[in-house]
Each structure stands twice: as C-alpha cells, then as structure tokens.
Symmetry: C2
Subunit: 341 residues, 2 copies
C-alpha cells in the first residue's frame, strides 16, 4: 500500500465521538450500524483520509466483507449479467465484489486467486471446475470458501451453482436433428481447460450418436469467444463442401458472428443454413431472425452463488450444490434442413 | 482475512532455498525474477499455503501490484472491452486488475473506492469525472494515483484518458440533420451524475441549435443502459404524434433496443425511422441493417489508461491527460428523413 499520512482507528473514533469497536463495525458490518452513526464515522474516515490496513482489519474483524470473483473474460456478456446479480446480492449483504479476468489462462487465474486471497477476499467465486490440484489445495489450506458457478456435476466434491452443460446441449441438438439436419457444424471455444465447452461438445455427440450419426458427421472449429472469431470460424465451416446444414455455436456471441458469416456468403438463415447459440443473452433477441438458443438462468445463478458464498463465509459450513434448469428456446434461426442438391 | 495456518515469508524462503528478499520480489515484481526461481518460490508458496498478509506486504514492498477499476456496470459491453485491454496491459506489467461495479450508484462507488484502497490498491481507474469532492479529497490524502477514463475535458485537473463526448455526439447529430431529420428523439441514460450522458445530450443540442432548431424539436427519454429499457423508451417515443423521424440513442445497447421497438411497431429502418447509437461495440454490426454510430477507441483507451496508471504508480508523477479521437460510422440505420404525410 502506498505511504501517506496514516491516521489510526483511534483518531477516527475520537473524531466521530464513538468507540473504536463502533468504527470497526462501520467498516466490517455497516448493515448493523445506526445510519446516523454510520454517517458520522464515514465522515470522520473521509475527513481524516483513514484507510484501515490489513493489520488493523485482522484485529478488527475476521471478515473483510470482500468477495472475489474470477471469470475467464469480461469482454462479452456471458458472465457479465450473472456477475451483476452476484454484485447486487453481495452489496445487499454489505459485501463488495472484486472481479478479475483470467483471459481463459489457467496461469493467470492461479495468480489472481493468490492475489485475491492476499488482498483479503473472504470467499471466491470461480467459473467451472477445471483448475490445478495445487490451487484447490491452496484454497483448502487457507480455508477460503469458494463456489464454482456455470457448471454442475454430481460427482464433483466442490460446492457449485450451475447447470448440466452436456444435457442442455444434447436437448438443443435433439431439436436440431428433429429438423432433419445431418451435416452438423460446431463452433466451440477451446475445449482444453474449459469443462463447459467440453460438455457442450459431448452433449452434441450424445444426440448425434442416438440418431445414428458419428463424429464424421460433425465438422468442428475451435476459436475464442468473440463475434469476429465466430464469424471467421463459421466462414471456414460454411465454405466446406459439402456444406453443413446447421452451424451450432458454443454461445450466442459466436452465433452472432456466424450470422454475419452467413450474410457475407449470401446464405439466408434458416433457408440455406440454420444457426443456433447457447446462453440466451440479449444479443440473441436483436439478431434477425432471432436466435434459437439454450436459455441459461444467469441472474438466478448469480444470486444463488452469492447467497451460498455469504452463508459459507458466515457459518463456515459447506454448502450443498445447486443444479439449475435450462430451456431450449426455439426462434427463427433454426429451420428444416435444406434438401441436398 | 480468515484464520488458518499462517506460514511466514521465512518458511517460504527456507522451503525454496532463497532469501526472503527474493520471495518478496517473486510476490511484488515477478517480472524481474528468473523464471526457474519464480517457479520454485511459487511451488513453495502453494505447498505451504502461504498468502502474504498486508503487514508483510507493507514491509516487503510499497507496491501491492494491484490496480482497482470501478465501472458503473458490468452488465453490457460498454466498459467490458476497455477493461479487458486494461487487464491485459496490467498483466503484462505484472499487476492484477480488480474490478467492481457501482451499478451507477455514487454511494456504492464511494464505498468501493474505500474498499479497494483498504484492500491495498496501488492505483485506481475511474469512469467519468463526476463524483463527490469528499472522495477526491480521500484519494488525494491517501496519495492514491487515479485516472479518469471514458471522459475528457480540458478544464479538468485530474489525469484522464478519454474523448470529447459532446463534440462526438455533435458530429453524429450534424450527419443526422444533413439527412433532413428535424423531429429528433433521444434515448439517453440518466444525465444526473453521468457526465458522458450529459455531454452527449449537450452535443446534440449544439448541432440542433446550429441548424436553427430548439429544445422543442427534441423528444427525450431517460432510461437505464440495457436493451429492454432501450426498447421501452424508444417505443414511447415512436408512439408519439408527430413521430420523431430519428431515434438517437446514448449508446449501441439502447439502439439495439430501439431496433426491436421499431420492428414491433412494424416500422422499417431507415425508411420509416432512422436509429443511431454510440460506442461502436460489436452489437452494432450484428443488427440488420447495421447500426450508424460513433466509434469509440475502447481498447486504445484501456491500454493508455493502464500505462498511465502504471507510470503514475511507479514514478509517483502526475500524468498528462490524453484525448483520443472518435469517428462517425455511417451504416444502414441512418437514412433520409421520411416526407411528413
């Protein structure tokens, strides 16, 4: 922390005419303090430029009222809506959420977990289960409550709030196959290190196998989660011969890119090619035609994850995992497979 | 911070067979440490479950290599792309970015500034100039380097990386007026406490006055920044009599909502009504027709802000503000004003 004048908690207590215990409560559990007292103490804190340091915090309270969240990216809306819900729920409980983005890099995620713990995070929200045993050991050794979101697997010991990515993608793929599609294109995020992407791919294969198809009937492109990459990956699939009759995308952002690729190639959706997404974020409804996708309850997931983190932190008890349902949303981009020339 | 075993920096140094100074370097300036040494020390840190606490950090280094960023919302892509650029630039410099969202609430922003300083942020990225004198005094007293982004004003003493929101909106409005539009609708964020929204509104009025129009020729709706709110606000404007011939929106997200409202009302864009946005985020290119908007160099703004924060932190010198240019992007949603029946 940078140097500067360093008023103490005693200075604040004196200035506000309260006890140091009250100052600590204002800092650590503002929700339990009388509004006028809180105002007076905050005014004193501002006037004196007091910032409680870790030492003082350690004495003042076991809790820092700071919860960390590490997401793979901030760049698109996939995690943003859920995070906003986490943040509102935590704010209502008097806690602040600090977010960092790992850019889908396990090394960076490990670094950020260490940093958030060093910065005193009470608890951590993590995306997906897949990370090194070292990091999980680190969290267990430090007794840092953590919840995994965006993924759910009954066999996983870690508390999670999520949904069955594999079953959700299988359900969407079954609808797609019911429309007669047999040549399937998949635009997915890199599956290595991303259990959500892996399970969506496996769910698609489940449905294809059940319909008597095999991996040969699937053309696949791995890319990163942004519209431009989705456009390029879909373009590569749509210029193959024979052309897939449907491009299924790992999320709505990639699907928006696939829509651009189809338009650029003069293909109309869904007459010439069908396109599907995953997540049902707002972009799905602004596309023309609107996007067939899987609705993921992002806000509910965020709220539940926040509640779980607060309970684990306050009661130091392990929470039960929560599996949320998803729903296939049929809109205009999925239609019957065109008859092969 | 939660209790748990508390190994010391000496334990780590012993386990890694290095000096405590080297351990500190690995924590505070990993970029200057030999990779194999860094690996060895990190392994020891993980094995022992060591997390440097603030006291130790204060002794080990003036810097925590943590930079805080507080944005009004995480929910849409307006800030996400710029933040991702900040994060990559900081990561390259061995620093971690911690983000929090104020939900456009000045009280929450003040709380989060206090929290990030308490968590040891070396420097802060803030959005826009408008916040209480108390908070600025707090930052000055604590000597916390901070940069304002997304806004630029020559008369502002605070270091900023941004663009002239007023001039940018004026330039877009001049193009709109050149297409013959005289009945203007504006869907904007709440202007109070949001200098970006205020200046975009003022820029529109500048252009209207220069064209001999007045505030009476402007119908205005204030709302929050999401597609659904944009849809509702645009619907209210488009059902007025006489109907505005153009709906100018405070950003691309609101414009995407306005496109939905026009479609729902059976109005074709731009034949019946023109629509414009602001930001040129990816959603602008997935709309049909594509969106006329103002291109804001979000990535460049993020990179420059990050560099400025790093320099201010490391050299403790005040940085010069940077004004970036914006560009009007004419696409399909802006056309000639329909002839009034």
């Amino acid at each position: 922390m940078r140097s500067g004048t360093n008023p103490t908690v005693n200075d604040v207590a004196t200035a506000a005419g309260v006890s140091t215990a009250t100052v600590s409560r204002c800092i650590n559990s503002p929700e339990v303090v009388q509004p006028d007292t809180l105002r007076r103490v905050r005014a004193a804190i501002d006037t004196l430029g007091y910032a409680p340091n870790f030492g003082a915090r350690a004495l003042a309270a076991k809790r820092t009222n700071t919860v960390g969240a590490i997401v793979p990216t901030l760049e698109n809306a996939i995690f943003a809506r859920g995070l906003e819900a986490v943040q509102r729920e935590l704010a209502a409980a008097g806690s602040t959420m600090l977010v960092s983005s790992s850019s889908y890099d396990p090394e960076q995620e490990a670094e950020q977990i260490r940093t958030l713990v060093a910065r005193g995070a009470d608890a951590l929200l993590l995306i997906g289960f897949e990370r090194s045993a070292e990091i999980y050991d680190f969290l267990d050794r430090r007794k840092i409550p953590h919840v995994v979101a965006w993924a759910f697997a009954p066999d996983q010991p870690r508390p999670a709030v999520g949904f069955d990515n594999r079953a959700a993608m299988r359900a969407l793929a079954e609808k797609t196959l019911a429309f007669g599609h047999r040549r399937i294109g998949l635009v997915t995020a890199q599956r290595e290190g991303n259990d959500r992407a892996q399970n969506r791919w496996l769910g698609l294969l489940d449905a294809m196998r059940a319909a008597g198809l095999g991996e040969d009937d699937l053309s696949l492109q791995e890319t990163v989660y942004d519209i431009e990459s989705g456009r390029a990956a879909a373009h590569a699939l749509l210029t193959r011969d024979p052309r897939p009759t449907v491009i299924m995308c790992g999320n709505d952002v990639l699907a928006a890119g696939a829509m651009i690729a189809a338009r650029e190639l003069g293909l109309s959706v869904p007459e010439d090619v069908s396109i599907t997404g995953f997540d049902d974020i707002e972009i799905a409804r602004v596309l023309t035609p609107q996007l067939t996708t899987v609705h993921v309850p992002h806000r509910e997931m965020g709220r539940r994850a926040a509640r779980m983190l607060i309970d684990m932190r306050d009661d130091a008890t392990a929470a039960d995992s929560v599996e949320l349902g998803t729903e296939v949303i049929l809109r205009g981009t999925l239609g019957p497979a065109p008859v092969t020339p």
